[in-house]
Symmetry: C2
Subunit: 343 residues, 2 copies
């Protein structure tokens, strides 16, 4: 029943003009203190709240950021939390849409958010996405867009992401230092940048240790526990099976771990495991799984900061690239016992 009060109502009740009320509300300098006080008081009493829609329509900005993420698993939700924190601070509200790793859904989300007139976008692309027209359309309209985590060279925009190659490198090097020689990698989908970069790091480490990569030890599979499980089963069934596995996500690591246990092998003595993401889960399974931390929360914050900066800076910021450094957390799954190391 309570139609929200408008400045019009206030004006009428106070016998002043609409514009005076508008000025008073926004604390303009050129308005009589008494009237200002009166307006404020009545506004309070009527529980007046400015209508954002009208405001937005007028100023052509909504103070809303559209965030499109592939999903809301642990990592992404930490990132979103980071975005949220910075955005709120800066006076922005965040609209989060999940693409569910679906290209079509991503397009729908983009259109919806565009229609909702968000002031800009912070996005991480779905693993299914190979064409980027929907995102380019955003840029053609000169709408600010920041790409984070899953970046792609096909999209020129300010970005923030992890140094994934470095992550792949330190993970692999750690295994090599522990004396493992036949190191398999469960990589992600082929077209996905983070997947390739992490694999590049893996390659680089092998090269540094003069180990020739064995194609049969390189497996591309979905970011998916089950796929990883089956892929690992195959690896373990090989005549010359690997003595270590590097999975590029924790979910995959869990799948690998289950396959290893099922086979009755022990970590890290029969086979070692190093993973990526460093979600809480890897520290509570037995044995704990070594994992590369990707600073999810920080990445979210960085993305939002970059976005805000871009908003205040209409200049061309397409070159800007924030790169976060990964950090390896070593646990039992990859620390060869002393005795074993010697043999």
């Amino acid at each position: 029943m309570n139609k929200p009060a408008t400045i019009k109502d206030i004006a009428k009740q106070l016998n002043v003009s609409i514009s005076t009320v508008s000025r008073a509300m926004r604390n303009a300098p050129d308005v009589n203190n008494d009237t200002k006080a009166a307006v404020m008081a009545l506004a309070e009493e009527l529980n007046y709240q400015p209508n954002r829609l009208a405001l937005s329509l007028r100023q052509k900005q909504t103070h809303t950021i559209g965030v499109i993420v592939p999903n809301l698993d642990y990592v992404l939700s930490m990132m979103v939390k980071g975005i949220d924190e910075v955005a709120l601070e800066a006076g922005y509200t965040v609209m989060v849409c999940q693409s569910n790793e679906s290209f079509g859904r991503e397009i729908v989300n983009t259109r919806r958010l565009l229609e909702s007139l968000v002031d800009g976008f912070i996005i991480s692309v779905s693993s299914e996405t190979k064409s980027f027209e929907h995102f380019k359309k955003i840029q053609e309209r000169d709408i600010p867009m920041v790409v984070f985590d899953r970046v792609t060279p096909q999209l020129t925009a300010p970005t923030v992401h992890l140094d994934n190659e470095e992550g792949g490198f330190i993970a692999t090097e750690h295994l090599l230092e522990q004396g493992y020689k036949r190191i398999a990698i469960l990589a992600g989908p082929k077209n996905l940048g983070i997947s390739n970069s992490r694999m590049d790091g893996y390659m680089k480490a092998l090269k540094k240790y003069n180990i020739k990569p064995d194609p049969s030890l390189i497996i591309h599979c979905d970011f998916n526990q089950d796929y990883a499980y089956f892929a690992t089963e195959e690896l373990l069934a090989m005549k010359k099976r690997p003595d270590a596995i590097f999975t590029i996500s924790d979910r995959m690591a869990i799948g690998a771990m289950l396959a290893i246990k099922k086979k009755g092998l022990s970590m890290p003595d029969d086979i070692a495991l190093v993973s990526f993401n460093n979600e809480p889960i890897v520290s509570v399974v037995t044995p704990g799984i070594s994992s590369v931390d990707i600073q999810s929360f920080e990445m979210g914050k960085a993305a939002a900061k970059l976005f805000i900066e871009r908003m205040h800076h209409p200049d061309d910021m397409t070159g800007v690239e924030v790169v976060l450094k990964p950090k390896l957390f070593i646990r039992e799954s990859s620390q060869r016992s002393f005795v074993k190391k010697l043999r």
Copy 2:
């Protein structure tokens, strides 16, 4: 540079009136087919997109649902995914805000979403929240609101939630059936409904088996792995320590498990563990932890459906209450080996 096209632009270029264009766009019956075609064609060419803001301002609805959740951990993000799915289907966009379990943040979120003129709310209250004025303000304005998961009798609204008492009951009864007698409970914060209901179920089960509840076995602590860890340490240090623990969340269960392992005790023979939520994590730790499934995804969908229904049904729906049934997933942590059961 590309200012988005408006119906005005189209009208001008086609030498027709704005209203004709408006009608043509919305496929009104009373408009000449030729002009309609012309309008459509030009709209397509100019990449016209209706301005939602203007539309919303006019019709006083935004087709947006404000969702406020305490956090975005596994359970909640599944629920949000469920909400998202149904909402999208029904033509609504979802704005998700996290309160971070903070009362203040919840108030800020409410105000923001209210200002953004969302058509309604789907909320789950923060554990810190004891006063509900901010939510009641929503209701006073006759804005639809559905409460889900964490409901409270202090908030009269259509709700969807789990039968938490039943959940607590089946978890406890299962332990009793397995022969455990001194069953401790790690309950959540005292003012939280889900916490109390689950404990009620625990009590009910004890009563059914004629076991007098021991206050020293009932521990209230935060939904937090560390708290649970310390609480469990204390339980295990008791002279007559419990032979089973029921934790009302998986996160707490992990804490308890770690404390149990640290102490060198074995599950389920020295001590059993049953938990709540049935997140993927409990099935991959060793031993697997029995847990009560709460149907997160389904709950989200149900909440959104209820919301949509409420939108189409301005009647008083405050009485409506959707209750989902919990289901226990039994794993190793609570299945006493046959030998032990006999002794």
